[in-house]
Amino acid sequence: MAHLIEIRDMYKIYAIGDEPVHALDGVSLTVDDGEFVAIMGSSGSGKSTMLNILGCLDVPTKGSYLLDGIEVARRTPTELAHIRNRKLGFVFQNFNLLPRTSALENVELPDLYRGRLNVRERRRRAMELLARVGLRGRERHTPAQLSGGQQQRVAIARALMNNPPVVFADEPTGNLDTKSSIEIMNLFTELSNEGITIVMVTHEDDIAAYAKRHVVMRDGRVMRDDRGEGGRKTTEQVSQLVKEALA
């Protein structure tokens, strides 16, 4: 069966100064439908770089990327925009909501660019999604009127607006306190249980413990890829796994 995501021998090289930086140094990785993957590794190991390429926000210097069986590594900006809009959802560390715009309008945005629903349907779906992430009654709030955890939920609702098969999250709990982090991770777990594929970057072991599969990177390479055959891991097991991988 074809993989949902398949990257092969991928490089991202930044030519800054004399020494080119290999942010990705020949990475190969596949992700199947319904997986919940945590990408881990020390700072500067290339986690964000890889996630941005997977999310079609960036293009690799070299290598191939098949998304749903289609090559997307060499596409025009417009084609990439369509792919992001229809197939991918994004959750950022700093939420990235439109300021001075209501939660509802923020959630509606992806369909505004797609134009699949009419005004009423779009509004209804956005309301449903906000209720789904526990923000019923906060639809008219602007980001400034919401807590960090609530803003991140708006961002998750927005990522789900166009029903993407996969959601990418780059340190989604990086700006949140422990309580909000747990709520957000519970939400991701529910989404995963509903069959949505989730690829998440984190360097916190307890956050990574929510994922089923753990990929550990160093210096632009995948050092360890644990598919979690032994069942869900505890935080301690994750720490152990990372330590081993980077030893």
Binding site: N52, G55, L57, D58, P77, T78, A81, H82, R84, N85, R86, F90, F92, N96, L97, L98, P99, R100, T101, L109, P110, L112, Y113, R114, G115, R158, N162
Partner: protein
């Protein structure tokens, strides 16, 4: 994403920053106000001049004797000694199919007296046709008749300036006898006021008497010269033919051989109109340059604001791209923002400009004329300016990489 949605997005973005939107409208708005105002005043001035020129006379053609070129001395226009009242009569008789009225004109400045009052002014010797030719009216009494003209009667009609200087306000001049150069003339009428002409000359400072009487009693010259004659054509369509026929008739009467030049010249108001036309044409070109400059300045203002806006909202651009905004929709959004700014500025400018035009017109007593077309053009042009100057910032925004925008610090 369809155009309407992008338009709404653009409006929303502008609404999020009302002060800045207002300020960026301001430049183009003021430009448009200036353009509308200048065009209105220019148009008003032109209409006023055209109106005055046509008030000079009815299908008017003027014939002047040629200045004498013999000898070293050259007299002014109308000082030649070649044209007589007989020429005028001949034109009236022989060119009746073209000309509805002919009036010879002799001019002399005299001292006028009534009782103890004194006034130095002009006497015009004319024929009865002058009323029709030059649109004069008589408000009190009457004008002289053809019989009086033939009989060299010492009668005259006076302009309002002369009346004011010789008579008390409550005195009726009609029937009174005044002295012109020590000859007594009876006042038989008062002319309706015409005011100052284009050159600021008071047209009401005049006494009109039959040319025959002026020649006989005031000029006492042995020649029968006239200073000029005024013709009124039946229709201006015949202008060329009339000039040709007048010329050939006068050449024949003056016994000019083929090799000799005309000893007279004809003038008509179309020439003056053309001069006015070319002057207002130049003014129009200046206005156009002025407009283009103000619009460029306004446009650069908008471009500046849009460039700042793109940099300032780079995270927003990255975010929109990350959830699926195509380069085209980003381009369209920012172009529309610029167009909306320019058009709103332009529309406000049109409204204020029209208001200001009428205010200036009312305050300065200067006629203004706001043409609907100029308002429509101003409106359309401001949106084109918005597109033109908004395109570059919008294009830059659309070419950004989503990841660079999201990472921008």
């Amino acid at each position: 994403m369809n155009l309407l949605t992008i338009f709404k997005v653009a409006l929303k973005s502008l609404g999020r920053n009302p002060v800045r939107s207002f300020l960026s409208c301001l430049g183009i708005g003021i430009g448009i106000v200036a353009v509308i105002l200048a065009m209105a005043i220019g148009q008003g001035a032109k209409t006023m001049m055209v109106k005055e020129i046509s008030s000079m006379g009815n299908n008017l053609v003027m014939v002047f004797p040629e200045r004498r070129r013999t000898g070293a001395v050259s007299g002014g226009m109308g000082q030649g000694q070649t044209m007589t009242a007989k020429d005028a009569e001949a034109i009236k008789k022989e060119l009746a199919h073209l000309v509805q009225g002919v009036s010879p004109q002799v001019r002399t400045s005299v001292q006028m007296m009534y009782g103890a009052k004194n006034w130095a002014g002009n006497v015009q010797g004319v024929s009865t046709d002058v009323l029709m030719i030059s649109n004069w009216t008589v408000t009190d009494g009457r004008f002289f008749t053809a019989d009086e003209e033939r009989a060299c009667a010492r009668v005259c009609a006076i302009g309002t300036t002369v009346r004011a200087n010789l008579f008390a306000d409550d005195e009726n001049p009609v029937g009174k006898t005044i002295r012109l150069k020590n000859m007594t003339f009876r006042v038989i009428g008062v002319l309706g006021s015409k005011g100052a002409n284009n050159w600021g000359q008071d047209q009401d400072d005049v006494v009109m008497a039959p040319y025959t009487s002026v020649q006989r009693y005031l000029q006492r010259s042995k020649f029968q010269n006239i200073n000029m004659m005024n013709l009124s054509l039946i229709t201006m369509d015949d202008l060329e033919e009339a000039r040709r026929e007048v010329t050939s008739l006068l050449r024949q009467r003056h016994h000019l051989a083929d090799y000799q030049d005309n000893d007279f010249e004809t003038r008509d108001t179309t020439e003056i109109m053309n001069t006015i036309g070319s002057v207002t044409g130049i003014v129009g070109v200046l206005l156009l340059i002025f407009s283009v400059i103000t619009l460029i300045v306004g446009g650069i203002g908008i471009m500046n604001i849009m460039l700042v806006s793109v940099t300032e909202r780079i995270k927003e651009i990255g975010l929109r791209m990350s959830i699926g905004a195509t380069p085209l929709s980003i381009l369209t959004q920012f172009c529309l923002e610029a167009i909306v700014l320019a058009t709103v500025g332009g529309a406000a400018g049109v409204a204020v400009g029209i208001g200001a035009s009428y205010a200036v017109g009312a305050l300065a007593g200067w006629p203004v004329l706001v043409e609907v077309s100029s308002a429509v053009y101003a409106f359309l042009i401001s949106s084109v300016v918005g597109l033109f100057f908004g395109f570059y910032p919008a294009y830059r925004a659309s070419k950004l990489n989503p990841i660079d925008c999201l990472r921008y610090e």
